[in-house]
Symmetry: C2
Subunit: 385 residues, 2 copies
């Protein structure tokens, strides 16, 4: 343990990636708990659902039909949050005008994709093998590569990767009409995380602006680098491999940890061991090892409470349009934010105090990591089928 | 409308209180929606529940019994997130050590209260009259006053208020053992907001540290003041009263607006019209007018989808221990963050993109304000009873 006392007392921990603090109340887990004993949940979905708008061959809401794809299939979201073309908007920026200080708006354009992980309606990343997850990572990589700005410092890598990863006609996308700034790959899994279709898929939102979270991370990583001459996440990986207290799993290229500053009860971070700036930096072997790490997280999550574990996950990497220095500052990682706290139905609510004052968690990241270390092995529901 | 075009195009808006941006996608409301038509929900709770740990006279988890209180009743949470006394912890702060940069922790002490709003198990702020809400506000004010530091710039006000607001034996609390820094009053209402007991109540967490959110607001309000010589929220209230586009309701002392930067679909902000630094600055008439504003929000929320509307709310005001300048910078306001989007059951999920990249909303604050302006009048369920 970092300091035994942190198992018992209320304390704040610092998140160096976002530059903010959160409250940890370990003694709160001592609250009486009529531990809901769930029955392990089986997978009762069909492997093809004629009503699913993501299954191969089916029709979507706006009339398009999906191809009879085999693993991944990418398309522009029929109800995108941002669009490539829209009416112009030029906000006035008169510094002396109160409205221009307090009612600020800026236009945002972009393109939003949906990407399936598998043709099977009832598969999840936990059910898939690392080899089956590789095509997903390949598609992410090709899409990222095809959106980089013409002057991007990673263009050499991108060209190389595009020449080495086999094309997948159903996973290809056309380059954007205007250069975009950022690509956010994320998955919402489970109804608890606002996901309305269990067919395994993620979303990719590309935007003309750098969003808040990756923006904050870049600022903090850059500051760390200029203060110490080293990479924040590079130092952090070394530290966690040394301490082992928050380490869940590792392979040659990646570590899986419950970060020191984890907010969600079983939050984890996959971090590359070497300095990887973006997906295009990963070689064949590393993409397989990344798939292993993702699979390991998804399977351990499901095993933890013997249920289909909900989460939101997302990849942070170099922006699509950035300077040499910004690319150099970026360090590839993937966040998983799962809401479950004590069972398949008892979740942590980030509400009143968390929203109005400061995020708060109960079990410590060290306790969470210990539980996740203990639930490797075969996917629990394999033996139920 | 601010600029008609903002009704149609994706854009970012700036939150000057927190210094961050959010994404607005108004066209997303054009998604097909098999508008869930709910039946208006009645209140089916008893007005006294023998099993409720908050009802007058009942026993609590750790054995204490509640007094036969009449309106508000305050007690220290049996499972507080922070405690007044705990083991010491002195983190090392060796600047050259990677662990002291990346594994930072600080001790936090404090006291957490639970405060009931009414003796009636089935009352909500929407069911209560402003006159019935005044005792709640009086108790908040007395508790705040009794926690101020000995050198606090608002001590004169506090002494005055303690001499004018009648004591309520069930709502009084003892001063803290050590001086604390901040008091966060908040309510989690409804199961959707993690509330496990419908008996109307709020929580009050006092801490030895200034939490992230009020901390950010103070920084941004101070900066605005030093840049312009005026108060951020003072200017904002004037602007909203002039524009009227986001105004929901007002009385002599308070405005209710859907702020320009609202994140939650029907988020509102109650702001004092004059410069009120904290609860102790409010006079008798203003406390009644604040009760009216709170009641107005709660009732309009319930009327909107004819349901018991869930939300988290919280008050921001001067810290318990602060300088003259910090007190002077503070401007009393109350946030309401409600998750419902389109009906009693369709809520907005702040998940994948929101957590990994940037908060996103669909309907504009102007559209939300228009709907809330239209649903005043009698509480819908009065006529169902
Ligand atoms: O204190 P309660 O009501 O048990 O708990 C509720 O409010 C707290 C403060 O916002 C949260 O930390 C909890 O997650 C939530 O369930
Ligand atoms: O895009 P979907 O799956 O319809 O919607 C889901 O993910 C989005 C991105 O995180 C959120 O904005 C929505 O609130 C959520 O329900």
């Amino acid at each position: 343990m970092p300091d035994e006392v942190l198992n018992d007392i209320s304390h704040r921990r610092y998140n160096p990636l976002t530059g903010s603090w959160l409250l940890v109340s370990p003694h709160r887990t001592k609250r009486p708990w009529q531990g809901a004993q769930e029955t392990p949940s089986k997978n009762t979905l069909p492997s093809y659902d004629p009503k699913c708008y993501l299954c191969p061959g089916n029709k979507r809401a706006q009339g398009d039909s999906n191809p009879p794809y085999e693993n991944t299939f990418a398309f522009v979201n029929d109800y995108s949050a941002v669009k490539e073309t829209q009416q112009d908007y030029h906000p006035e920026t008169n510094k002396d005008n109160v409205a221009s200080l307090l009612l600020q708006a800026r236009p945002v354009t972009g393109r939003c994709y949906v990407l399936t992980f598998s043709a099977k309606h009832d598969a999840t990343l936990a059910d898939m093998t690392p080899e089956e997850i590789v095509p997903v990572i390949n598609t992410w990589t090709r899409i990222y590569a095809s959106h980089l700005s013409p002057s991007h410092p990673l263009n050499g890598q991108a060209a190389y990767v595009l020449s080495t990863i086999p094309e997948n006609p159903d996973g290809e996308v056309t380059p954007p009409k205007h250069q975009l700034k950022n690509m956010q790959i994320f998955e919402n899994k489970g109804a608890a995380m606002g996901c309305s279709n269990p067919h395994p898929h993620c979303q990719i939102w590309t935007t003309s602006t750098l969003p808040e979270e990756p923006g904050k991370e870049l600022v903090n990583m850059r500051k760390y680098k200029s203060d110490t001459g080293r990479h924040l996440l590079g130092d952090y990986v070394k530290l966690e491999l040394e301490k082992k207290e928050r380490l869940v799993w590792e392979n040659g290229s990646f570590v899986v940890v419950c970060p020191w500053w984890a907010l969600w009860p079983f939050e984890v971070l996959i971090i590359s061991k070497r300095h990887v700036r973006a997906l295009v930096d990963l070689d064949d072997k590393e993409r397989l090892e990344f798939a292993q790490a993702v699979q390991e997280v998804a399977r351990r999550y499901d095993n933890l409470f013997e249920t289909n574990f909900p989460y939101s996950s997302g990849i942070h990497q170099a922006p699509l349009d950035c300077t040499e220095e910004e690319a150099e500052t970026s360090w590839f990682h993937m966040h998983f934010y799962p809401p479950l706290l004590r069972s398949a139905t008892v979740k942590k609510f980030l509400v009143g105090y968390e929203l109005m004052a400061e995020p708060q968690r109960d079990i410590t990241p060290e306790q969470a990591a210990a539980k996740l270390r203990d639930c490797g092995g075969e996917l629990y529901r394999k033996s139920l089928q």
